[in-house]
Symmetry: C2
DNA sequence: CTGTTAGCGCTTTCAC
DNA sequence: GTGAAAGCGCTAACAG
């Protein structure tokens, strides 16, 4: 089966190429009879609209790119799905790449997407991303980029949770429990999200009577394996805090598992709290206290921002922070200070 | 910044357009000096290779499409990531769409991808997919499609777990526990995977002394909410089986939660087993017995198959089944028959 | 080894 | 209301 073009269609329908093109775009100046004839011919010949050709001519591609680290983390999965939905609703098709938190891989994916002429890019940056190489890739085609959930530059748009506020909320809750020590476990080192959460925790704990030393915090990969490893590192130093604050729910999963391997009972022997509030948090035993960071809101906001910037590239770089909300559950609520 | 073309580059480097094009593709017949000059010019001018234009000319797009239902299910997330990796490694960029198990949405996404001239499509079909409408979309451009994990037609390639074998393995294990009744909970009705798992369970339970009645099985959405709902429906009928077989680990999560809401202890009051063996299965309390269906293997195999078919469209439709493996954990191993 | 030429399928003026 | 012509950026075939 060879390709059917608008040319073929117009010939079959007895009209000119440009007329057929106008029918496609629903131009009202074409009489009903003509456009019906064209449409019939399309159906009969099995015509497929070729967006590549159209896009080449109009010099836009109606495609967007999304690069995220890893969607096995349900938080990123939710974010990704929201963005796909927004892109789809706006008529865009979405290229997706998973950097697996590898900067080089991420740069390659950026480059490919730029070559594919994407109209804009959502980037959840891999740890270690830098402005210079990214600009080296995107500036040549001046593709707008929105940073998601983490940022490495103030010169590009950014949408993410208000991590400082999230940390403060958590700190306040933990100190209200009567805990006297807290430790952060996990999260990618040097990531903006981690730095901000630490900052929020520090300010929140200040003057609360809870000892929190960020330098004890073990940075790890952002998944269950990281959580197990991180909590092991802490406990093996002989530190046994009243509260373990996980960098994320994904990390908290591993923390639960490692605690149990050591015959410690999360929520009783030590309280556990976390960030993100993925669906799982509520289903765990004990249900996990977590600060919700609303990936759906972040995704929608990011999509709005990117579409606006595509329309008007001259806008100032924007930062949009989503207000977090603490969800108290048994992993902290059931815990009682040692006497 | 306006677009830099090969034309500009060749002019700047003092060579012809075709020479510049040959340099791009690393043609060895071009002398070092010339190609260095061309590359220098590219860097200086900020040239970006335009794949759309190249692809239009060569009538291939070096893009593939992937449509899955929902990646918040870690099983599908893993599958998706594997496929992205394979596509990337083969030099393809991947369009991704999430159908959210909505057939109409899926058809729209298929159509868009076809219009974008994808060279091939991975499809994890939404419940209710039918051959006729799908062919109506894909046949016009004869894009090859590989079905993933579920199938609705024998005329398209398919790669998925051997669900019948998986069901049999689980049935055999459950009967070896001394259980006398088992019920399946959840999973999308009429999906091939569910039908096959039921078939495997039925044949596996035959003559084993375990009563298994597939008509008691409650079909639900393939997620935790579905699991809670499904197990509630079963228990509310006054049925209290020795073993609850979840359609998938995602569903099992909801089953654990609902059992606990009713003060039942999964793994003691009732044994629970499942399919997929996502990472979470091992981290749950009690750890969940599950039949691993290896999404990474499925993804890799599917990618191979699709790439082969792109090269040779005339191949017979293939079915490739991945051998499952039972992972026994405490959710069944700790359970003892009521006396 | 390099240059010229003719499109890929569509959109967009601008005449008729 | 409809048609003709030009061209988006690249590649491939062929001639020098």
């Amino acid at each position: 089966m060879k390709k059917v073009t608008l040319n073929d269609v117009s010939r079959a329908a007895g009209v000119s190429r440009s007329t057929a093109s106008l029918v496609l775009r629903g131009n009202p100046r074409i009489p009903e009879a003509t456009s019906d004839r064209v449409r019939l011919a399309m159906a009969e010949l099995g015509y497929v609209y070729n967006r590549q050709a159209a896009n080449m001519r109009r010099s836009e591609s109606m495609t967007l790119g999304l690069i995220v680290t890893d969607i096995r983390n349900p938080y990123f999965a939710g974010l990704t799905m929201t963005i796909e939905e927004a892109a789809h609703d706006a008529g865009y098709t979405l290229f997706v790449g998973y950097s697996r938190d590898d900067v080089e891989r991420q740069y390659l994916q950026l480059e490919t997407m730029v070559q594919q002429q994407v109209d804009g890019i959502f980037l959840l940056p891999a740890t270690g991303s830098e402005l210079a190489p990214v600009c080296g890739i995107i500036d040549r085609s001046s593709v707008p980029v929105v940073q998601l959930a983490r940022y490495f530059s103030e010169e590009l748009d950014y949408v993410g949770p208000d991590n400082v506020a999230a940390g403060q909320q958590l700190a306040q809750h933990v100190s209200s429990l009567g805990a006297s020590t807290a430790v952060l476990v996990g999260g990618p080192e040097h990531s903006s999200a981690r730095t901000e959460r630490i900052k929020g925790l520090e300010t929140g704990f200040t003057g609360s009577g809870v000892a929190f030393d960020a330098s004890l915090s073990a940075a790890t990969t952002n998944n269950a394996a990281g959580g197990s490893e991180g909590v092991a590192r802490v406990l093996d130093q002989g530190i046994w805090p009243d509260c373990i604050v996980a960098y994320s729910d994904a990390v908290a999963l591993g923390i639960y598992a490692e605690l149990r391997r050591r015959n410690l009972d999360p929520g009783r022997d030590v309280s556990v709290a976390s960030f993100d509030d993925i669906t799982m948090a509520e289903l765990l035993l004990p249900p996990l206290t977590s600060v919700s960071t609303y990936p759906e809101l972040i995704g929608r906001r990011a999509a709005e921002l990117l579409l606006n910037r595509i329309r008007d590239p001259a806008l100032q770089p924007q930062r949009s922070l989503i207000e977090p909300a603490l969800k108290v559950r048994a992993s902290t609520a059931q815990w009682r200070p040692r006497t």
